[in-house]
C-alpha cells in the first residue's frame, strides 16, 4: 500500500553537494523543493562533535560515515567474460551516505578540468590522429572550458577554495598552475601555509624545471564568508579530513556552505532516512511524474513532482535510471544504449621516499594541503612520441599522520612483529609520499548495468560494474611512475619505492572514490544519456547531476567539476527550462 503525498514542484534525490546547490538555487526561484535522502541528518556540532570526531578507529577503519553494503552494494568483474560477484564490503571506493553525502568526508582537492579535457576526442584526433584513440571510447563533453568557467567560479566562491591562480584572463600568474585555463579572477582565499614535505617536493620539482603550485583546497586558509553569507573558520591542520566530517567548520561541504541558509527556507524540506526506490514515469515513459520512496519504518510513499533531479552519488544515479526504465541500458556487444556507458575511474600510483635525517611531522596536515605538478597531466605535454594519451597530476599532499593508518616502512620490512614496529617508528616522521592521480579513459567494455543474479534488500537488481584499467591508462601510469622516480631520485633520501599500477582492478584495497560516467553528457543522444545541461534525453523533466555525467575522467579530483555542472544545470533550469517546463533544452 503506497501512500500518495501532496505534489511538489521539485523533488531531489540525495542531499549532498549537488542536491544542496540545486535546492538552494531552485528555492531562490520560488519553487517548492523536497529533498529525499537515504541516510541520516548530519550537522557539525552534533555529528562531527569536536570531542570525538578525531576517532580514527570509528571513522577511518570502521568507516562510520560511509554507505554500508547492507544498504546497497554492487557486483564487480574485470571483463564481460567473467561472472560478477557482489562486493561484500566497500574497499576500492567508499560512497557516502547521509546529508552532505561524500562531500562530508572528502579531502577537499578542488580542480577545474581544462578545455582540452572537455574537447578530448576532437582534440586528440586533431593532434595525434584517430588511430591513437581507436581502442578507447572517449567522448567530447559538448561544453568548452570558457563555458564552464563562470560555474567553476561560482562553486569555488561558494566553497571558499584556497589556492593560487595560474592564469587570470590569459595573464600567467607567478606561483600558480601555468597549465590551467584562463580564469576570471583568483581563488577566494590564498593558498594554505605549506608544511615541510610539500615545500621540499616543490623545491625539488622546480629545480628540475617543473612547475609546482599549491593544490587548490577546500580546507580554509583563513576565515571566509561565502556569497550566501555563511562563514567558515580557518583550518587548524588537525589532519582528520578524508573519512571524517570537519568539527571546526573549516572544510567546505553542504553543511558548512549551503545548508544553514537552505534549511531555514519555508519552501524547502528534507526527508532523511528515506530511500527512493525508483522514478515513476507517465504512461509512454516520456516524462516523470514523481518518485516512490520507502522510509525507515518500511512504509512506501509516492511523491508526485513536476521536476525530478537525481543528485545521488554518480553510481546510484545510474542505477536509479536503470531501475526506473529511463533510457536504454548500454550493451557492450552492439555498442547501443547509453545508460551505463563510459564508466571510468582514476588511475593512481604512489611513491615513497625514505629519509634518515628529516622530520616531516606528518600529523600537521589537512586533506588538500600540498603541492601539485601538472606538467604531465592531460594534454599539457606532447604525446606525439608516446604510446598513450592522458596523464596525471603529481601530488604531494600528506593529508594526515593518523596513528593507525600512517605506518610507512621501507620495502622488505616484515609485515608484523617487533621489526615492523621498529620500522614504523623510524618511518613515521621521515617518509615523504607523493602520488600520480591519473586520467581514466573510457573503453567499450568498461560499463555499468544491472546484475542478472544478485538483488538488494528490496529485491531490486544490484548494479553490475565491469571494469579494468585500459592498456592505454596502464601505459600512461607507467610513464608517470618513471617521472615520479626521477623526482624521488632528485629528492635524495636513503631509499624510494614506486608502487606501479597493474592490470586487474581489485575492489578490495582503497584506491579512489572518483567513480565517473554511466549517465554521460554530450550532444548525441545515441552516445550520451543527458544533454549538456544534464537533462535526460529520454525524460526531459528529469536531470541527472553528478560525476555520472563525465564522459571520461581527467587526472584530477572530480568535485570541482561536479559543483560547476550543478550550477550550470541550475542556471539552465532557472533561466531556460522553467519558461517551458517539460520541454527538452536541446533538440535531439
Amino acid at each position: 500500500m503506497t501512500r500518495i503525498l501532496p505534489r511538489k514542484d521539485v523533488v531531489i534525490v540525495g542531499l549532498g553537494w549537488t542536491g544542496a546547490i540545486l535546492a538552494n538555487e531552485l528555492t531562490d526561484q520560488g519553487l517548492d523543493v523536497l529533498a529525499i535522502e537515504r541516510g541520516p541528518w548530519r550537522d557539525t556540532a552534533t555529528d562531527f562533535n569536536i570531542g570525538y570526531m578525531q576517532d580514527e578507529l570509528r571513522y577511518s577503519v570502521r568507516r562510520d560515515l560511509f554507505l554500508q553494503p547492507v544498504v546497497e552494494t554492487m557486483t564487480m568483474r574485470n571483463d564481460p567474460s567473467q561472472t560478477a560477484l557482489p562486493m561484500r564490503d566497500f574497499g576500492s571506493f567508499l560512497p557516502g551516505n547521509g546529508v552532505g553525502g561524500a562531500g562530508v568526508h572528502w579531502n577537499g582537492h578542488t580542480w577545474r578540468f581544462w578545455d582540452s579535457d572537455f574537447k578530448i576526442k576532437s582534440n586528440l584526433t586533431n593532434r595525434y590522429g584517430a588511430a591513437r584513440i581507436a581502442d578507447l571510447q572517449v567522448e567530447d563533453w559538448g561544453v568548452t572550458g570558457a563555458e564552464m568557467e563562470p560555474y567553476y567560479d561560482q562553486f569555488e566562491y561558494l566553497a571558499g577554495i584556497s589556492g593560487k591562480a595560474g592564469n587570470i584572463k590569459g595573464q600567467l600568474q607567478q606561483g600558480g598552475n601555468p597549465f590551467e585555463d584562463p580564469r576570471s579572477r583568483d581563488y577566494p582565499n590564498p593558498p594554505m601555509d605549506m608544511t615541510y614535505a610539500p615545500t621540499l617536493f616543490a623545491e625539488t620539482g622546480r629545480s628540475m624545471g617543473l612547475h609546482p603550485f599549491p593544490t587548490p583546497s577546500a580546507n580554509m586558509s583563513r576565515a571566509y564568508t561565502n556569497p550566501l553569507g555563511v562563514t567558515l573558520g580557518q583550518c587548524t591542520f588537525c589532519g582528520f579530513c578524508e573519512r571524517f566530517g570537519c568539527a571546526n567548520y573549516s572544510k567546505s561541504s553542504a553543511q558548512t556552505t549551503v545548508l544553514p541558509v537552505l534549511m531555514k527556507k519555508a519552501n524547502f524540506e528534507v526527508r532523511t532516512d528515506s530511500e527512493v526506490l525508483h522514478v515513476d514515469l507517465h504512461t509512454g515513459g516520456k516524462s516523470a511524474r514523481g518518485v516512490t520512496y520507502i522510509d525507515s519504518s518500511g512504509e512506501e510513499f509516492f511523491q508526485p513532482a513536476d521536476l525530478v533531479l537525481l543528485c545521488a552519488y554518480g553510481l546510484h544515479n545510474v542505477r536509479l535510471m536503470m531501475l526506473s526504465g529511463i533510457g536504454r541500458i548500454y550493451d557492450p556487444g552492439s555498442g547501443e544504449g547509453t545508460v551505463g556507458r563510459n564508466y571510468c575511474y582514476q588511475t593512481n600510483a604512489g611513491t615513497q621516499v625514505f629519509f634518515d635525517d628529516k622530520n616531516f611531522n606528518p600529523f600537521i596536515a589537512a586533506g588538500a594541503l600540498g603541492q601539485t605538478i601538472d606538467d604531465y597531466n592531460g594534454d599539457a605535454f606532447d604525446h606525439g612520441p608516446l604510446d598513450f594519451v592522458g596523464g596525471a597530476g603529481i601530488n604531494c599532499i600528506p593529508t594526515n599522520g593518523r596513528p593507525i593508518g600512517t605506518r610507512p616502512t621501507v620495502p622488505g620490512t616484515p609485515k608484523w612483529g617487533s621489526a615492523w614496529k621498529k620500522a614504523t617508528v623510524q618511518g613515521y616522521k621521515s617518509t615523504l609520499s607523493f602520488s600520480s592521480q591519473g586520467s581514466s579513459y573510457a573503453t567499450r567494455t568498461n560499463y555499468l548495468d544491472l546484475d542478472p543474479t544478485y538483488k538488494d534488500r528490496f529485491g531490486r537488481p544490484l548494479m553490475r560494474m565491469t571494469f579494468d584499467f585500459p592498456d592505454n591508462d596502464i601505459r600512461m601510469s607507467n610513464y608517470l611512475c618513471d617521472r615520479m622516480e626521477e623526482i624521488a631520485k632528485k629528492l635524495g633520501g636513503k631509499q624510494y619505492a614506486v608502487g606501479r599500477r597493474k592490470k586487474g582492478w581489485d575492489s578490495v584495497p582503497y584506491q579512489s572514490t572518483h567513480n565517473t560516467g554511466g549517465a554521460i553528457m554530450g550532444i548525441d543522444p545515441k552516445r550520451s544519456a543527458v544533454n549538456t545541461y544534464l537533462q535526460s534525453w529520454d525524460v526531459p523533466n528529469l536531470f541527472v547531476i553528478g560525476a555520472s555525467a563525465f564522459p571520461q575522467n581527467a587526472g584530477k579530483n572530480p568535485t570541482g567539476t561536479v559543483g560547476a555542472l550543478a550550477f550550470r544545470a541550475a542556471d539552465a533550469i532557472r533561466n531556460h527550462y522553467l519558461r517551458n517546463p517539460g520541454a527538452p533544452l536541446v533538440q535531439a
Partner: protein, 405 residues
C-alpha cells in the same frame, strides 16, 4: 456596556479626524506589525514549527508551567471576540477579556508603559493575522497559584500601572531607547533579577537573572560583567545580526534576536544601545582572588584538549564563528549557569539574514566530569585578562542535574 461606550468613543474620534483611508489603515497595520516585532509576540506565542501566534510552548516558571495562549483573531480559541478596549486594558493592567487576571509571565508590567497609539497600532495588526483554531490551556500552575485571583494580591504588591515617563534631561534618542527597553522590548523580563514573588527588582534593573536554565547576563554598562567593553556600534551589530566581536547570541537570546531585534530599525537599535550604555555604574569592583595555580594548570590542560581548537590557545576565538572568551562578559557573570550549560549541553547560534551560519558549540557532557568542567571554567574566567569567581563542581552538577531531568 463599557466596551460599547469605548468603541463608540473611538468611532467618534475617527469621525472627528475624517474617515480613515485604506492607505491609512495599511500604514497603521504596518506600524502595528513593527510593534509586534518590538514586543516579540511571536517569541512566546508561537510553537516551534507551529502557526504564527496560535499559542506557544510552555514557559517554565519557578511557580510552574504557563502556556502562552492563542492570540490570533479566532473567535473560539483566540482573541477574535476581544475588543480593542479589552486589549488596551490587558496590556496596561494584566486584566484580560472578561476580567481574567493574567500572570506576569505575560510582561504587562513592561507593556503598561506602551503608549495608546502604539497599542492601537498593535491591535490593528493583530486583527489582520490568520485566525487559527487552537485551544490552549494556558494555566497549568499548581493550586493555589492556579487561582488567577491570587494575581490580585500580587499586583497590589508588585505592579504599578502607568505609561512611560520621558526624562526631559536626556536626549530624544535616549528616551526612545528607554521606552523600547522598559516597554515593548521588555528586556527586564529576562535580564532583571526577580524577587521571591517573581517580580522585577527595580534596584538591580537589567543586572542579570536566571531563567529556564540560562543566566540572562547583566546588560548594564558595568565594566566587568556588563556591556562596558562594548561600543554602541557593537551593541547594534549584536542585536541586528546576533554576532559581534564579543559574543554570539544563543539560547533564549537567539530567539529574541531572530524574531525581534534583528527586525528592528537601525535607529531604534541605536537608541536601545545609547540607553543601555547609560545604565549602571562604571565603578571598578575589586577583582576576586586569583584561583590557586594548581587549579589553573588543571583547567588549562582541559582547555587545550577540548576548547582551544575553536576558541584559540589565547581565548581570542574566531570572529563570527567561535566567540572570543577573553573579555567576554558572559564568561564573567556572577552566575555560571549559562557557562556550565554551554559546556554540558552545547548551544547553537542564532540565524539571522546577516549572519546565517548558526555555528554550534557541541555538547561535552559525556566527556567531561563536573570537576573538569569546573576547572576549565575557572581557568577561562581567570585567563587573558578575565577575572571572576572560581567555579565549584557542585555548581556544575546542579546544571547537569537540571539538564538530565
Amino acid at each position: 456596556m463599557k466596551t460599547l461606550a469605548l468603541t463608540f468613543a473611538t468611532g467618534l474620534a475617527t469621525l472627528a479626524l475624517g474617515p480613515a483611508t485604506a492607505a491609512d489603515q495599511a500604514d497603521q497595520i504596518i506600524r502595528g506589525q513593527y510593534q509586534a516585532v518590538l514586543g516579540d509576540c511571536v517569541g512566546c506565542h508561537t510553537r516551534p514549527g507551529g502557526k504564527s501566534l496560535a499559542g506557544g510552548p510552555p514557559l517554565e516558571t519557578p511557580f510552574g508551567a504557563l502556556v502562552p495562549p492563542n492570540i490570533t483573531p479566532d473567535a473560539e480559541t483566540g482573541i477574535g471576540n476581544w475588543s480593542e478596549a479589552d486589549f488596551h486594558n490587558m496590556m496596561k493592567t494584566g486584566i484580560g477579556h472578561d476580567g481574567v487576571r493574567l500572570y506576569p509571565a505575560m510582561p504587562y508590567p513592561a507593556y503598561t508603559k506602551m503608549t495608546d497609539p502604539d497599542l492601537s497600532d498593535l491591535w490593528a495588526y493583530l486583527t489582520t493575522v490568520e485566525p487559527v483554531s487552537n485551544k490552549v490551556e494556558a494555566n497549568q500552575l499548581p493550586f493555589p497559584l492556579n487561582i488567577r485571583f491570587s494575581m490580585w494580591g500580587w499586583n497590589l504588591l508588585n505592579f504599578s500601572e502607568g505609561g512611560f515617563a520621558p526624562d526631559p534631561s536626556k536626549s530624544a534618542e535616549w528616551n526612545r531607547g528607554a521606552y523600547i527597553v522598559q516597554g515593548a522590548g521588555h528586556c527586564g523580563t529576562c535580564h532583571t533579577p526577580k524577587s521571591f514573588l517573581g517580580a522585577d527588582q527595580d534596584s538591580v534593573f537589567l543586572q542579570g537573572a536566571s531563567l529556564q536554565g540560562w543566566f540572562a547576563p547583566d546588560i548594564t554598562n558595568s565594566a566587568r560583567s556588563g556591556l562596558g567593553k562594548w561600543s554602541e556600534d557593537d551593541l547594534v551589530k549584536y542585536l541586528k545580526t546576533g554576532v559581534n566581536a564579543h559574543s554570539i547570541a544563543s539560547g533564549p537570546m537567539a530567539e529574541a534576536v531572530e524574531n525581534s531585534t534583528s527586525k528592528m530599525t537601525d535607529a531604534d537599535l541605536k537608541a536601545v544601545a545609547v540607553y543601555l550604555k547609560s545604565l549602571g555604574s562604571d565603578t571598578v569592583v575589586a577583582a576576586p582572588a586569583k584561583p590557586e595555580q594548581a587549579r589553573m594548570v588543571t583547567g588549562e590542560a582541559v582547555y587545550r584538549d577540548n576548547c582551544s581548537a575553536c576558541h584559540g590557545g589565547d581565548g581570542a576565538g574566531a570572529g563570527a564563528l567561535f566567540p572570543a572568551l577573553a573579555g567576554n562578559s558572559i564568561v564573567a557573570q556572577g552566575s555560571t549557569e549559562t557557562l556550565s550549560r554551554l559546556v554540558l549541553a552545547g548551544s547553537q547560534a542564532v540565524h539571522t539574514a546577516n549572519a546565517p551560519t548558526t555555528p554550534a558549540m557541541p555538547s561535552l557532557a559525556w566527556r567531561l566530569k563536573d570537576q573538569e568542567v569546573a576547572d576549565v571554567l575557572t581557568y577561562v574566567r581567570n585567563s587573558w585578562g578575565n577575572a571572576a569567581s572560581e567555579v565549584s563542581a557542585s555548581e556544575v552538577a546542579a546544571v547537569r542535574k537540571e539538564l538530565t531531568q
